[in-house]
């Protein structure tokens, strides 16, 4: 494995759009070539090297390329977006679209991320040590095909719109979430280890939601059908099992309607 080391040396006036910070783009390029890649600050065209010191070496393929950014990227968008293999580590915060449209590989952000983390993700792993803002693992505007695969783990809390239009994959929020979990979901799993305010599983067709804490306001479209023992993320516990959203359409399998599942930890 070869590692490209990047160190932020200049903070952009506005926000930097770095579609290029991805092992797929860096693979097979020398640090000099990488520093000449285009980044955008609004309509201003700059080079990656204007904002980062770049050293180390890249692998021949994305799979053999690791990227390590040693510093704060609070004003850098699109880190690791559309990547298919390799890894990106950010030793600090990152802005929007971390791992957006990602297909494979792994991303580790040691700080916080802004919104649209793992937007329309298809595969790979994202680990955020801090908090995430809104739209974790959400679909792009107007797309009915949201997150399809992969894993997003947020060690802190997250905002609203988690896993909207989700079709597959797993989202784990270690702390609290605000509102709208798995809205319009047709698959996938969301685990919230803390509390959620409300609107869990609204307009949900299929999929699973686990809430370890409390839900302040339960939607009227969810019906409790019993208690189940489940082993989730290596923890075995008892959950109250709800099905829903009863107000939404549901497909039938062998004559029986398939509902979304909401598991709320039994106290």
């Amino acid at each position: 494995m070869a590692t490209i080391r990047m160190k932020p040396v200049k903070t952009p006036d506005l926000f930097l759009e770095c579609f290029c910070i991805s092992p797929d783009v860096f693979a097979g390029k020398t640090p000099t070539e990488i520093s000449r890649l285009e980044v955008r600050e609004g309509k201003a065209r700059n080079e990656l090297g204007d904002f980062f010191d770049i050293a180390g070496s890249s692998g021949k393929t994305a799979e053999e390329t690791d990227i390590f950014i040693d510093g704060d990227c609070s004003r850098v968008k699109y880190i690791g977006s559309k990547m298919t293999a390799g890894s990106v580590t950010v030793n600090g915060n990152a802005d929007m679209y971390v791992g957006g449209w990602m297909k494979g590989g792994s991303i580790h952000v040691r700080g916080n991320v802004d919104s649209f983390c793992g937007l329309a993700m298809e595969g790979g792993e994202i680990q955020i040590d801090g908090n995430a803002q809104n739209y974790v693992g959400c679909a792009y505007r107007g797309d009915w095909r949201g997150m399809r695969g992969g894993t997003i783990r947020i060690n802190g809390s997250a905002g609203n719109d988690i896993g909207t239009f989700m079709l597959g994959g797993t989202i784990i929020i270690e702390k609290d979430a605000f509102i709208h979990i798995s809205t319009h979901a047709e698959g996938g799993t969301v685990v919230i280890k803390g509390d959620v305010q409300s609107r869990v599983g609204g307009q949900m067709v299929k999929g699973d939601i686990y809430v370890f804490g409390t839900i302040e306001h339960m939607l009227p479209g969810f019906k409790e059908i019993g208690t189940v023992d489940k082993n989730i993320l290596g923890q075995s516990m008892k959950f109250r099992h709800f099905i829903g959203d009863l107000g939404e359409r549901h497909p039938k399998k062998k004559g029986r309607e398939i509902y979304g599942n909401l598991y709320l930890r039994a106290s």
Binding site: R141, R199, G247
Partner: protein, 457 residues
């Protein structure tokens, strides 16, 4: 003899009334009387002939005062400010015509700006819901002639759209609604007892911020499932009663406003309202409509969707393609994150409508207002450019809240030398072309250059 002009369009609210009559003085310069207009619409006409009306652009001086300058200088200033910025934002368009909006589109594309309209702080979430879930809507004519169950959800037309209820939704006698108000059941969902709620047959005083839960309850009931004793502060019996009213209606019409789009969940509140409308169509006919605020705020959505493929929050800074993602490219988010380095406020008052922190960020950079009137935004601007008032001094196409285009008239001549929005932005466009040494594809008052020839060049 004073002249009576009939079938005049009103440049105030989204109901875009087009049945006004305006009495104009002999010389065509003064408005003597307006008929059929609501009190606010009437005021807009009389305001136009205010003697204190600005007739020249004003540029902020180093000592903080304003100095009147010529239009050429203001156009040059705006063109240079847009070109020098890395990410300029052009926002507004609540009160201008589609011709002006189209001209601004050309400027924004040339300058690599972000284009946004007042929907961003108004019915933008409705657009997001429409992208996600479709828009089973109709025209206001169909509401007048067919609708017998009217739901006002989070909107207060008695104040915001004063003639909406008399022209379309509650009182008018239509083809299948010959008994007017007697024919209609009016349901109002609002946490407050608004004047619309007082007028309604049923008022559901929903708990603030729980609209989504109540929509969810209606959908659950309509699919034959049980709901809890109380949802969003409304008793089950009442929810069942209203659901039954909607199911048994011949044509259910849901109007929604800021109460849905600007409480928690925003687009999701509208999204589930659209889902409810679709569900109701299993039982009867149902339709839904956004209570758009201004007389032509549906216009930018129409014009830019045609020009760029997106109705609002259009980021044209890439130069190669338009990018839209509200949350990132929406005015408030851009301003709050300090992602804008030049702001042009057109035909609206961002100074009054934006959060103070957003305005503080915008004020660090060139701040330009294009508006006929003095407003909060104009008073904090570096440059204020007055223009003609659309619907009073300038004709043009506007889109009513149901997306029906209406040709508005002009009733009096505007102040001499004051341009329309369209003319002003066409001149800014030409100035940008001069500064960037490129060939303009559009010159005001001339036939546009065919796309094929401009491409060959």
């Amino acid at each position: 003899m004073p002249k009576l002009i009939t079938q005049v369009g009103c440049p105030y609210c989204g109901a875009s009334c087009d049945d006004l009559e305006v009495l104009v003085s002999d010389d065509g310069k003064k408005i003597l009387e307006t008929r059929n207009a609501c009190v606010i619409g009437s005021e807009i006409f009389h305001h136009a002939t205010n003697p204190n009306r600005l007739k020249k652009p004003r540029l902020r001086q180093p000592d903080g005062s304003f100095k009147e300058i010529e239009y050429e200088e203001a156009i040059d200033y705006t063109a240079k400010a847009l070109l020098n910025a890395k990410k300029p934002l052009i926002y507004g368009f609540g009160s201008t015509n589609c011709e002006g909006i189209s001209a601004v589109g050309r400027v924004a594309e040339k300058a690599g700006a972000v284009l946004d309209n007042c929907a961003s702080i108004c019915h933008g979430p409705s657009f997001l819901a429409i992208f996600d879930n479709g828009y089973p809507s109709c025209t206001l004519g169909e509401v007048k002639n067919r609708a017998d169950v009217i739901v006002f959800w989070g909107c207060n037309p008695m104040h915001a759209h004063p003639r909406h209820t008399s022209r379309y939704s509650i009182f008018p006698r239509g083809f299948f609604t010959s008994r007017g108000q007697m024919h209609r059941t009016v349901i109002c969902v609002d946490p407050r007892e608004t004047d619309t709620a007082k007028l309604a047959d049923m008022h559901l005083m929903v708990k603030q911020g729980h609209d989504y839960d109540l929509f969810n309850a209606f959908r659950t009931v309509l699919r034959g499932h049980k709901i809890p004793e109380e949802v969003a502060g409304i008793e089950r019996a009442k929810i069942l009663e209203v659901a039954e009213k909607m199911r048994n209606g011949r044509f259910v019409m849901i109007f929604f406003g800021m109460g849905c789009t600007h409480t928690d969940g925003r687009n999701h509140n509208v999204d589930i309202a659209i889902s409810l409308t679709r569900d109701l169509n299993d039982h009867t006919k149902a339709s839904i409509m956004a209570m758009r605020g201004h007389y032509n705020i549906a216009g930018p959505g129409q014009v830019w969707s045609w020009q760029f493929g997106f109705p609002y929050c259009v980021d044209l800074s890439k130069g190669t393609h338009a990018h839209m993602n509200p949350g990132e490219t929406s005015s408030i988010d851009l301003a709050m994150r300090d992602e804008i380095d030049c702001f042009v406020n057109v035909g609206t008052d961002a100074g009054a409508h934006f959060p103070i922190d957003a305005v503080k960020h915008l004020k660090k950079h060139p701040f330009i207002t294009v508006d006929p009137n003095i407003c909060m935004a104009s008073e904090i601007s570096d440059l204020h450019i007055p223009v003609r008032i659309v619907g009073v001094e300038e004709p043009g196409v506007v889109y009513r809240m149901d997306n029906v285009p209406i040709q508005f008239k002009k009733v009096i001549d505007g102040p001499e030398s004051v341009p329309s929005d369209e003319e002003l932005f066409d001149r800014i466009y030409v100035r940008i072309c001069e500064l960037t040494q490129t060939e303009p594809i559009w010159v005001h008052g001339k036939a546009p250059v065919p796309a094929s020839t401009s491409r060959v060049k």
